[in-house]
Each structure stands twice: as C-alpha cells, then as structure tokens.
C-alpha cells in the first residue's frame, strides 16, 4: 500500500492526553473522537488536516495512557499514517491492532518539515520526501506483526486460532 500526503509535524513525547483529551472519552464513537484529534496540542489541526495527510513526530509518539481512542481518533481525522522516530509501546500495539499504519523512521522524521509531501510505501518499507527529493528506509516490522497486519489485525488472528483449536468462543 502506498500512502501520500502532506506532513503535519510534531515534536517528541506527544502523549495520548493531547491526541484525544480524556474529557472526550465518555464515547467510543470514531467520528466524535476524530473531531477532537490533537486538540490540546494544536487547536487548528482538525480544520487543517486533509484526507490522507501524514503526522510526523520525533521520539516516543503516543506515550501515556492505553486509550485505543488515540489511534482511532487519528484515523477518523483522516490521517493515513504516522511516521515517528519512535513510538510508545502501547500506542504501537494499538496502532497495529486497529489498522493505523505507523512507520518507525528517525531520519525521515527529523528531515521532514510541515507542509512537505511524503510518500510512504508500506510493503517496500520506504519513506520518500517528495518535496525534498530524499528517500529513507523504514524499520521493518517483525514477522509476527507482519502476519497480524496481513490477517487484518489481532481479532481475525485470534478467531483463526480459536477455530483451529476447535474451541471457538
């Protein structure tokens, strides 16, 4: 899958409280969550973001709470992918489980500026900065996670496991 979009750039330690503040966690509705995405770090974000745009951040993106509402809100806001120098571990799991494409690529994250066009090739594991004419190799996912992604996330994987063991829940 190839994703192309305009960069919205953030610094390090972007936490889940600014991605989706807790005052909105009294719902699980994706569209409602998406409407408040990044509100406490950038009040204009949801107005500026175009379908397919890409969030680029420095280290430890998604630190803090385990709320899956964070990747859900980012997806629902129209963001196609997050490229970061590193991700906090629960956010990383949640992104894979909910089908939000994420890419670990410190060099691409450092070089990209707000407004740049990025082209991310998930299968090839590359990040191209179209504006600057540069190309970067992303960190590959371990084979097990590739399998999860290929199966469409964790729950289809679990359903298949249960079926195999004849103990479908």
């Amino acid at each position: 899958m190839i994703l192309e979009g305009t960069v919205h750039k953030f610094g390090r330690d972007v936490d889940t409280d600014v991605i989706i503040p807790a005052r909105y966690l009294n719902t699980s509705d994706a569209a409602e969550l998406g409407a408040h995405c990044m509100e406490d770090i950038d009040t204009e974000f949801v107005r500026r973001v175009q379908l397919g745009d890409i969030i680029v951040a420095a280290e430890n993106f998604g630190c803090g709470s385990s709320r899956e509402h964070a990747p859900v809100a980012i997806k629902a806001a129209g963001v196609s992918c997050v490229v970061a120098a590193s991700f906090a571990r629960i956010f990383y799991r949640n992104a894979i489980n909910t089908g939000l494409p994420i890419v670990v690529c410190p060099q691409a994250a450092a070089a990209a500026q707000a407004g740049d066009r990025l082209r991310v090739d998930l299968a090839a594991g590359t990040v191209e900065n179209v504006t600057r004419g540069t190309m970067y190799a992303a960190e590959p996912f371990p084979p097990f996670m590739q399998e999860l992604i290929a199966r469409g996330g964790l729950l289809p994987y679990v359903a298949a496991q249960l079926k195999e063991s004849g103990a479908r829940g």
């Binding site: 600014v18 807790a22 005052r23 009294n26 430890n60 590193s86 489980n97 729950l155 289809p156 829940g169």
Partner: protein
Amino acid sequence: MAQTITEKILARAAGLDEVQPGQIIEAPVDLALANDITAPMAIAEFEKAGFEHVFDPAKIALVPDHFTPNKDVKSAGQAKILREFARKHAVVNYFEVGRMGIEHVLLPEQGLVSPGDVIVGADSHTCTYGAVGAFSTGVGSTDFAAAMAWGKVWLRVPESFRFVYSGTLPKYITGKDLVLHTIGLIGVDGALYQAMEFAGEAIAALSMDGRFTMCNMAIEAGAKSGVVAPDATTAAYLAGRARRPGVVFASDADAAYARTLEIDVAELQPTVAKPHLPANTAPAAALADTAIDQVVIGSCTNGRLEDLRQAAEILRGRRVHPNVRLIILPGTQQVCLDAAADGTMQALIEAGGAFSTPTCGPCLGGHMGVLAARERCVSTTNRNFVGRMGDVTSEVYLASPYVAAASAIAGHIATPEMVLSKGRAR
C-alpha cells in the same frame, strides 16, 4: 542460562525452558482487566468479531472506576455497557459502585494478583502488579478483547533494566520520591519497551504500598512493566489475601540486563515533577515560590491507606490554606473504612479536606476536581501532561502524599519540614 525474574515468569507461562529478549511468545493470562473507558470499545470489538463466550469468567475483571459514580449521561451509558456485559457473561470480578475501587488499588487488595502471574489490562498503569512479583502490562482495548476470547496474549519479551537503590530512605522520602527521581534521571522514554526491575536495600525496606507506587509509574518511563522480586514483605501482604498461591521467582545473580543503574537514596530530597512531563523533576524545596490552587491526594499511584496516613500525619491539627482546595480520593471502599477506623479520615476532613468516594476523577481531568484555566495543582497522581487535569493552561505538579499535604497547608509547594516547624494550629 541465567534469567531475570521477568524472563522466568514469561518462560513458564509460555511453557518454555527459557526466553530471550526480543522473542515473541504467546502466553495464557491469569487475569485480564479493563475499565469504563477501555472496556466499552473492547466489548464492541469482541461482539463485532463474533465471539460468543469469554475464555474464563473468573479471570476477567471489569472495574468502572474512571467516570464513576457516573459524571454525565454519556459516561453512564459506558458504565452500563460494562454492567450488562458482566451479567451476560457471568464475569465474577465485576465491581459495582459501592463495592468498587480504582482498579490498580482494588485488584491487589482483593487478592486477585499473585506472584508469577501474567496479567494484561486495558489500562496503562496495569504495570502496578509487578509489586507482587507478577508480569503485568498495559494493552489497548483490542488486545483486551482478544484476551477475553482467547485467554492468551502475544508479547515481545522485554529487555530488563535493573535499578539498585542503596542506603536508607531519609524521613518523609517515599516510593513516590524514588520513582520520580528515577524517571527524572532516565527520561519519559528511558526504559522504553523494557522491564524495570527495582532492587536493593531501600526496596527491601520499602512497604508494599511504596512498591505499588513505584511499579505503577514504570509506564511513565516508557516501560512495559515494573517488578519487585517477592520477599517477606510480599509474603506478609499476600497471606490470607491472595486467592492463588502463585509462583515466586527471583533473578539469577548473573542474569543479563540491558542496563543497570545504582542510586544512593541517603541524600534524596522530597521530589516533585513540574509541568508537563513526569521526568521534569526538581526538589520540592526549590519550588517554594510556586503558589497553588488545589491539592489532590489519591489515584492508583497514591490512594492506598499508607498514603492517606502520611497525608494525615502532616495535616492533623493543621488547616488547609484558605486559597487551596484539598481533595482526597481513597483508592477503594476498604481504604475508606480503614481510614475511618483509625482516625485518618477525620483528621483530613477536620483540616479542611473534601473526602470523596473512590474514583479516578480529577486524575485524568474527568470530574470531582477538574482545573480551570491557569490553575495550579499539586497532585499525588502520575501524569502532568498538558491538559491532563483540566484546562490546557492548567498546571500539575506531581508529588508524594507528604509533599501534597504540606503544600495544602502552605498554599505553595512545600516540604513537610517547612510546615512542621510552624507547629499545630490547635
């Protein structure tokens, strides 16, 4: 091969002789938990995937603690989803308001976590249970939904980061000061993906409540888990409480660590994390010119009996500063009862504190003490991110119950010594 406590727990669970950091395993879970924020999303996923049964109704815990007693109509709806799911699937460990508590205070208190367990929770502070020698980690709603159906979780075996605390803790220095100081040293991603193993003579001397506080905040350094090897203190805590005996492991002396950090605690000062990161630490004494509007004592970090007793030790016979609102949130109904029985509750109320029923409440800016624009709060909770407790311009200073209580009296950030030297009002 020599193994750490974390590797031994995971190897046993996965049915392997040994595991290596980086290896991906599938392990049965001894307990899977979620709350009124994360469970509704998980229940929707569980039902959408077509699962009909939970793997074991006795190994699931559902705790409506965040926005309860329900703060508004929407949160009442979320709590109702939990309640109905719990009834439908005969979930044994569903805790209703009135029998409820903050999940990470409640579940150990109820004896639901044991040494050697593998526990996953749809809440980042699930790492708390490492204090009893379990492997315990936070996951998201989909992972929780999978665990409910499958009874298993996939895990990447973490590297371990060992912290050895030497020396004797000075008076008024608690597990909270230790863990804030540690996060200040290594940063909010200083232990990213790793297991933080707390050891050394200062940990051996630390109470269970202090150990829960430390493991609770492992996530604030980016860690997957925190752990303290069980000892006599653990055994005394678990006796007559734990519903399963568990399996006690300890790290081998020559186990491999990604990193080891030795910290001398003898000179440690009361420590505060300034806005807006838990790693932004400073001595409380250096912040005495910081005037405050509110103090919160409670949460899964510091809502246990020892925490309330420490606060009462400072507040007894003194008054909360006229400009300050003091809010106390006990961790569980049992903590309430114990605090009432030994006079702790009375001392806190007489000092001018508002004593709440158990809830997460203001810790995540939910209810029961949300901050207005530019207000400043000293809080015994675990996160001081932008907007965490209310308005985006409000500020949270993380501290121990001693420092929180002293600050409530002084009207600014203060150490116990600063207010104790002034004597009692009555």
